[in-house]
Every structure is written in C-alpha cells, then in structure tokens.
C-alpha cells in the first residue's frame, strides 16, 4: 500500500505567551517554537505501521520554506520512505492550501492519503476533507482505527461520547487521523542516519502546475479571549464570610 501523508509545522502554543500582532490579523511568531502538528505525527506513525504490516511506501508532503524541512526529516527518520517539500509560502487558508495539495497529490501514485484531523494553529479540520473532494475519492474524518482488507479498509471513526462508527471504504481513500490512534515512536539516531540517505525532493509551484485560487474566507480580526470572571473575593468579618461561603456552596449544589 502506498500512502501519502500531508504534514504541517505549527507553533507550540500550549505553554507559550501568545500575542496578536499590530495588524490584528496574525499572532506574533518570533518567540514561538515550531514543531510537527500533533495530529500529523499520529498520521505519519499510522502510515509507517500500515507499510510495516503490508508492503508499500510512505511519502510525506509539506508546503513551505526550507525551515519546514526538519519535520520531513523527522518523518523520514521515523520510517517514511521519501519526502516532498513544495517550496512556497504556506497559504494559511484551508481552501487555497487544499487546492495546492490536490495539485501535487493527483499526479502521485497512492492508495491512501492521510492528514491530521486538524492542525494546532487554525484548527479548521477541513483541509483533508476538501482535498478528498477535489481528488474525487472516499474519505473519513476523525479516524481512530484502520484495518486493511483486500482493496478496502475497515475504518473506525470517533464520534461524541466515546462512540465509534465503522465503515468499509474502497481504496483509494483519504482519512484524517485523530490523536490516540496509535503511539507514535520516538526518533532514533539510526533513523536520523538512514533519513539522510532518503530522498527529500523540493518542488516549485510551477513544477506541479499550481494555479492561483482565491481564498473562500477572509480573516477580519484576531484577538485573545477577554479574561472571564472566575473568582469572587468574599469580604466581611469571618462570620459573615463563612455564612456567605456556606450559602454559595449550597446554592451551587456542593452539599
């Protein structure tokens, strides 16, 4: 089975101080650290597992400048076979990006295309699904299990409330992968060494025939959520404060 995995480098915002830039339409990126999108990492691992179970190749693809190559090398070190970097600025608009990736992928040989279910930066969760539509192939989103059958897969999707639904899907297909589908492996030194001998192809938009499309959305404004009222200071004498606290707890159902 030949699998293509689309990966993206995103800022780590979990513990960082995020601020909005002067223009009000983007966050300040200078102080942020970037890494492979968490969901994409699970997708890379899943592709490698599928390859290890059954013959085939894994190709990882990203869109962006040379500074994005480390996530490709990382995926190669985990066990992917080759990588493609489309050398252009990441459009940051899901529809435009989907169009770019579609143009690139349609000429590649594949049975399965994997995306992360969403990306840690914009969290739209739509790029993969749009690419599937453009390619005209079946898709499933939020996938948390893949079993390969003959020319088909048995694919499990995560629903709300811990429920799953299972489909049999004919290949070729595109799945967007949910975290937790597997446990991604660490990168080993021998993996890093092997990765250096694998192909990391750089292509230009002209090479793949990217045509310009207009974004379907326009970003008006970005802002940090205003701090909510989460704490109430109870004043008064100790007796008054204790009585007030007791009535509050009772009111909220603590007793």
């Amino acid at each position: 089975m030949d699998v293509i995995v689309c990966v993206k480098k995103v800022p780590d915002t979990a513990e960082a101080d995020v601020s909005v830039g002067a223009g009000g339409r983007e966050i300040n990126k200078e102080r942020l650290t970037f890494a492979i999108n968490e969901w994409d990492n699970y997708a890379v691992e899943e592709a490698i597992r599928l390859k290890e179970e059954d013959e085939g190749t894994v190709t990882v693809v990203t869109v962006g400048g040379k500074d994005k190559e480390d996530i490709l090398r990382r995926s190669l070190a985990m066990g992917a076979d080759k990588a493609i970097r489309l050398d252009m600025e990441d459009p940051e608009d899901s529809f435009v990006l989907a169009n770019v990736l579609y143009t690139l992928i349609k000429d590649q040989k594949f049975d399965l295309v994997l995306f992360g279910a969403q990306s840690g930066d914009f969290n739209s969760g739509v790029t993969g699904v749009m690419v599937a539509r453009m390619l005209g192939i079946s898709h499933a989103a939020m996938v948390n299990g893949i079993e390969v059958l003959d020319g088909r897969t048995k694919t499990s999707r995560e629903l709300e409330g811990g429920l799953n639904e299972i489909y049999e899907i004919k290949l070729p297909a595109l799945f967007t992968i949910q975290t937790g589908i597997n446990e991604p492996r660490y990168v080993s030194i021998s993996g890093i060494r092997k990765a250096r001998k694998k192909e990391l192809k750089v292509m230009t938009p002209a090479d793949v025939g990217v045509t310009e499309v207009k974004p379907m959305l326009s970003l008006e404004k970005m802002y940090l959520p205003p701090p909510g009222k989460i704490a109430e200071i109870i004043g008064g004498s100790p007796e008054e404060a204790a009585a007030k606290l007791a009535s509050l707890l009772k009111e909220k159902g603590a007793f």
Binding site: D70, R73, Y186, V187, I189, S190
Partner: protein, 380 residues
C-alpha cells in the same frame, strides 16, 4: 568559523529533547525519592541509540562522537539530572575498553553497552583516594595465569547494577615511577569475592546507583588485564580527558534546566500585583543565568569538537568541565532563590536540580583538580 550545529546534530538534539521531555518528568521525583534506577527508560534509551553514543558503529554504538554525546546529555539532564544521566553514566568506563582494549574485549564487553545487554562501572576511587588517584591501595597479584585482586572501592556509579567494571589496582609496587605502578582490569561483577553495597543517603542524583565495592581474593584470567601493564594510571587519565567533556555537558543541561524553571516561575508568579519577571532585579538574575549557559555550552562544544578531532588538550576539557559544572550550581542557586519558599519544597523541580548539581563539581575530578590541570597547562 561556524558556530552552528550541523543538520544531523540539530535532528539529534530534537530527538533527545522529545524523548526526555516525554519520558522523564513523570518519573523524576519518584526515582529520586526512592533511589530507583529506571530500567525501562534505560532500555528505551538504548533502543534509540542514546546510550554510550560515542561508541563506534562496529561495536553497536551510534558513532556520533563526543559532540553528539554532549548534545544528548545536555538535553536529557535539562529535564532531569538523575534520569538524564543515563546516556553516559550507565557506560562509565566503557571508553577504557574502547581506547585500550583488544578486539576480543571490545566485542565481548564494549559492544554490549549501547544495546542495553550490559551496564558497566568504573572503579578507581577508594575510601582514602579520590582526586589523588595514585593514592589507591587495591592490589592485583599475579598467580599462575590469573590475577588476584584485593581492596575496596568507594562512590562507584552503577556499582550494584553493573555486569562488569574497570578496576584500577597496583600491580608493580616496586616501580620507581609512582604512576607506573598501576594497571587496569576488567572484572565481571558476578565473580566470587566481589561485593557491592548500595550507598544510600546521597544528597541528590538518586536515580543513579552508587555503591562501595569490596574485592576479596577476586581471581580474573590473565587476559582481563586491560591495556598494557603499568599503564593503568594513564588509561584512567585518558578516560577522564573524555568523560569530563560529557560531565561538562551535564553541567550545561542542569544550568539550562534551572534557567527554564526560573523563567517559567518568574512569568507565572505574581508579587505586589505584577509578575516576578517584571522586576529588574529578577531580570538581571535571569540574564546572569543565560550568560552562564551560553558560555558553558560553547566551552563544552569546543572541548567535544577538539576531542572528536583528536586535538583536545587536558586543559581545554578541564576548562569546560569546571566552568559548566560551577554554572550548574550557581544557576540552581539563583533559580531556587527566584522560586522563594516554593523552591524549598519538593513540589517544585528546582530543589531536585539544586541537590543534583553539587556533585558535578565533585565527581569526574573535583573543580580544584580541573583548576590544577588548567594551571599546569599555563605554567608547563
């Protein structure tokens, strides 16, 4: 001159950081509290090529030299000094086999360290001889085609968990030149007469095993003499000239880790209505710490690079080890001070770093020994 790491070195840094960041924090406090060596993490580190990575590929190592080793050690000790020591502490002494061993010894002993089949130890220090290496009293006497070892060793890392060890003993007490009285031996730790006892009550670095070892009529075959007879002292010095580079990297990692903890706390903690970090007094402290980290890192990288290129002097390595390890202690002190009272309880990681840091100024050559080496280099 190029101050940048190669692409491969950057990838190694990223891989080590990810491993340490995911594996260590949940276990660090518990291992320290219980004097527990985390075998599962050691095995994982071996699978990834992080243990004794200076060992050449033909003996199952990663073959990435001391530069690569230092990058891994730095990233690992940044997240926990105790568990973070695994990449090199578990392999202490293996360099002596790498540098002076025969092909058979390298196959039989060295090649089992990176794979996790074996752990080794380096037994030089004795109750009455630490920095004064030539003051050791353990003896090895030839008896037929065997050597018989007697003596006691102290503060031996991995003493109770090692499969084999490198032991320094007096073989030629009548040699005129004191430094030519010693030889090194490989001793399998399950030999009759070898008795290792775990040392408890260490101040820090408790995820790393430390023991005293007694040797009582321990008989080893003739071929277990490692390297040339009468060259033992020099073998030990050859080892220290390399191990001090990665102990320096441990200093850098601890210093960086202490800075990371200080930065996090200073941004979160509010006093007098504003974050600690907004006070210039705190900012100056952070600047001190950052400068020490950078200076130490560059000294260690220079020492590692020179070692890999075969042009390191003992002075280069001593400078790096002394400065980086002192920086670790100073940064931990400043970081704990920034944490205030919370830094003094074990709910916060800085107290574990603080307790661990001190030993880096003591083991692998106390800092006064490093200064003696530097002065000797200047005055020679």
């Amino acid at each position: 001159m190029d101050f940048g790491l190669t692409e491969e070195e950057k990838d190694i840094r990223g891989a080590a950081r990810e491993f340490a960041e995911k594996e260590f924090p949940d276990r660090a406090r518990e291992c320290d509290l219980n004097d527990e060596f985390p075998r599962d993490i050691w095995k994982k580190a071996c699978d990834l090529g992080f243990v004794a990575p200076y060992v050449p590929e033909e003996y199952n190592g990663a073959g990435i030299g001391y530069m690569g080793t230092c990058i891994i050690v730095e990233e690992c000790t940044r997240f926990d000094p105790g568990i973070g020591g695994i990449p090199m502490m578990i392999a202490l002494g293996s360099e002596v086999v790498m540098l002076y061993g025969t092909e058979e010894e390298k196959e039989k002993y060295l090649s089992k360290i990176p794979t996790g089949e074996n752990i080794c130890c380096f037994a030089v220090t004795e109750p009455d001889a630490g920095s004064d290496v030539a003051g050791i009293k353990t003896t090895a006497v030839k008896d037929g085609d065997e050597w018989v070892l007697n003596g006691s060793k102290m503060f031996i890392t991995n003493g109770t968990i090692a499969d084999w060890g490198i032991f320094l003993a007096i073989t030629d007490p009548d040699e005129k030149k004191v430094h030519r009285r010693f030889s090194t031996f490989i001793v399998d730790m399950d030999k009759a007469g070898v008795n290792a006892t775990k040392i408890r009550g260490k101040m820090g670095l408790k995820a790393s095993d430390t023991a005293d070892i007694s040797l009582s009529d321990v008989r080893v075959p003739e071929e277990n003499l490692l390297g040339e007879r009468r060259r033992g002292f020099y073998n030990v010095m050859g080892f220290f000239d390399r191990s001090r580079v990665y102990i320096g990297a441990m200093g850098v990692g601890i210093a960086q880790g202490a800075l990371d903890l200080a930065l996090k706390y200073a941004k979160e903690r509010k006093t007098f209505g504003k974050p600690l970090a907004s006070n210039q007094g705190i900012q100056f402290e952070l600047a001190d710490m950052k400068t020490r980290v950078e200076a130490s890192r560059n000294l260690v990288y220079k020492g590692a690079w020179a070692t890999d290129n075969g042009i390191a002097t003992p002075m280069d390595v001593a400078i790096a080890k002394w400065y980086a390890c002192e920086s670790a202690v100073k940064n931990c002190d400043q970081s704990l001070q920034i944490h205030g009272g919370y830094g003094y309880i074990d709910e916060y990681d800085i107290e574990r770093f603080y307790r661990a840091a001190k030993v880096t100024e003591i083991f692998e050559g106390a800092k006064q020994i490093e200064k003696m080496i530097i002065a000797r280099g200047l005055l020679a």
